[in-house]
Symmetry: C2
């Protein structure tokens, strides 16, 4: 791979002159300019980003840590982040933490080695003090995406509010009992339950929580549930993947949507509209979230002055389809 020094030798000028031409900042003699450019083109010169960064201008690298890119929602996010970053001349170095704090820590270390200019992360455990310490140690601009954090910028949707919105909807279409698929530590659940309790003090007796991901077990639970509770059941799943799974199981059990079961998922992945009956789901503005995260980050990278942290809550929207129509 050709270097500036080599181009300098070939064209008979000094290396800094080559640098000037190729970076186009200061003015150089037009003839020299052309000669150098021609030579650079001929040899497909590309500046060595490593050397450049070493000298202090940053790496133009953004470290991205996702919990799991095989989740469509995150895959979309990464795609939009890359687009936004590319527009500003940044590239992404991507890691999956697999929801594992140890791996996450390792990702952070590797990113440090590459001296990424900034960091976008979906934290495994945003409140973990160790995580906060690790981020602080990194000492570079960082924004968390998808999760609300207090010690760093964050771009997210208010999961509790979204959960509440789902509660409102399910109550509105007249459900007699409820199923939540996920863990009760989830903000979505908390917002959902809170809202329900507001209008129905007996809510907790009407609720069943399914934590397992095992299709067989879910099937048994559903079967028993619908045998004992004939009334319309509102089902809220913490993500579309689970919701699609439930959708299939309900179909197999011959439980009709939305009459017997009103199902709502989360993330509004493309499958929702293709399914039959169509799957209601909470849509996150992932393109906007990605763009916002990248913008905030790059702004902080390039203007290190303003170093306060901001909360960037964004608006989610419930997309109602056949699976939970009135």
């Amino acid at each position: 791979m050709i270097t500036m020094t080599e181009i300098a030798r070939l064209t008979g000028v000094s290396q800094p002159t080559v640098s000037r031409v190729l970076n186009g900042n200061t003015s150089v003699n037009p003839e020299v300019r052309e000669k150098v450019l021609a030579c650079a083109r001929e040899h497909h010169f590309q500046p060595n980003a490593m050397a450049r960064s070493l000298v202090g201008s940053g790496t133009k690298l953004i470290g991205v840590v996702l919990t799991d890119i095989s989740n469509s929602f995150f895959a979309d996010l990464e795609k939009y982040m890359e687009q936004a970053a590319r527009e500003k001349g940044y590239s992404l170095i991507l890691f999956n933490s697999d929801y594992d704090r140890e791996k996450e820590k390792h990702c952070l270390e590797v990113m440090r080695r590459y001296r990424v200019d900034g960091l976008i992360i979906v934290p495994v455990l945003e409140q973990d003090p160790k995580f906060r310490a690790e981020i602080k140690e990194l000492d570079i601009p960082a924004v968390s995406i998808t999760r609300q954090t207090e010690h760093m910028d964050c771009v997210y949707i208010d999961h509790a509010a979204a959960g509440a919105r789902v509660a409102e909807h399910l109550r509105h279409i007249g459900c007699e009992n409820y199923l939540f698929v996920g863990t009760t530590g989830d903000r979505k659940y908390q917002g959902f339950a809170e809202k329900m309790k507001e209008s129905d003090p007996d809510f907790e007796q009407k609720l069943t929580v399914i934590e397992t991901k095992d299709s067989g077990k879910i099937r048994s639970i559903l079967q028993a549930h619908f045998r004992e509770h004939p009334g319309k059941c509102g089902i809220f799943a913490y993500n579309d993947r689970r919701a699609v799974q439930l959708h299939g199981i309900l179909q197999r059990l011959g439980i009709s949507m939305p009459d017997q079961a009103a199902l709502v998922g989360f993330d509004n992945t493309y499958t929702c509209e293709y399914l039959y009956p169509g799957l209601s789901s909470v849509s996150q503005p992932n393109r906007e979230m990605a763009a916002r995260a990248v913008d905030i980050l790059i702004q902080k990278i390039e203007q290190p002055a303003n170093q306060e942290c901001f909360d960037n809550p964004m608006q989610a929207e419930l997309v109602i389809r056949e699976s939970s129509e009135r």
Copy 2:
């Protein structure tokens, strides 16, 4: 961020000694060793990968260019590639080409700037001579994944064979006419059509090709098709995303699977088994493909001797579910 020179200053030894300690190659005085290690730990030292690469030991960076990571199949692939790479101390710098040759070219240029040690790519157009030239210019080990290529190592499944396998299956369950969803330039299609023609000279009259991705248009085409052709129709979609879309449309039209329509997708994404009726699909061994691609690449990076290119065709498997059961 602390440097070796700084650690050297703090511990009163020379920078090369720090380097020796931290890289653990040559032997150093145990006392010095401990002192240096302690200091490094205390300050959370991480070697500057940029500087290290500059001095000639490579970047430990693998450039990955995918056409579209929002496709679950590729997202899975990337996840497994990252795992495999991490195990060998490499990190991934990821790009999406969006099926756009220009963007792909740009990705290649950026990778060059970062002096990635090697490259794994899903080519937009593997036969394009310009693409081949660009890869050659890069002058680093490169493997193409998912596509067969002649000028570089490749890890892929034989799409034509997989298409033939689907043909066999659909013929076997007794279809009277066929629908292919995708483009006829696709190897899957070619294998499919070839196989069909073997046993049925009239195949071409029995085939309809749907190229559009527009749900409304697909719906019209299907409606017209089933009105005119009452017999059982074998439908082969080039990927699961399209297959899921068709699945929904068929359901909405009240066309039963597998009686009236036997549907087969491609990639065997998780949705397939959750759908009802379950979606038949061709399963690619993506974990193995990813691991193989990474292994081959790293081997070539670390043993530049053997520079021949190898074909690595892998075995796909048709997973039959309700959507195309006999």
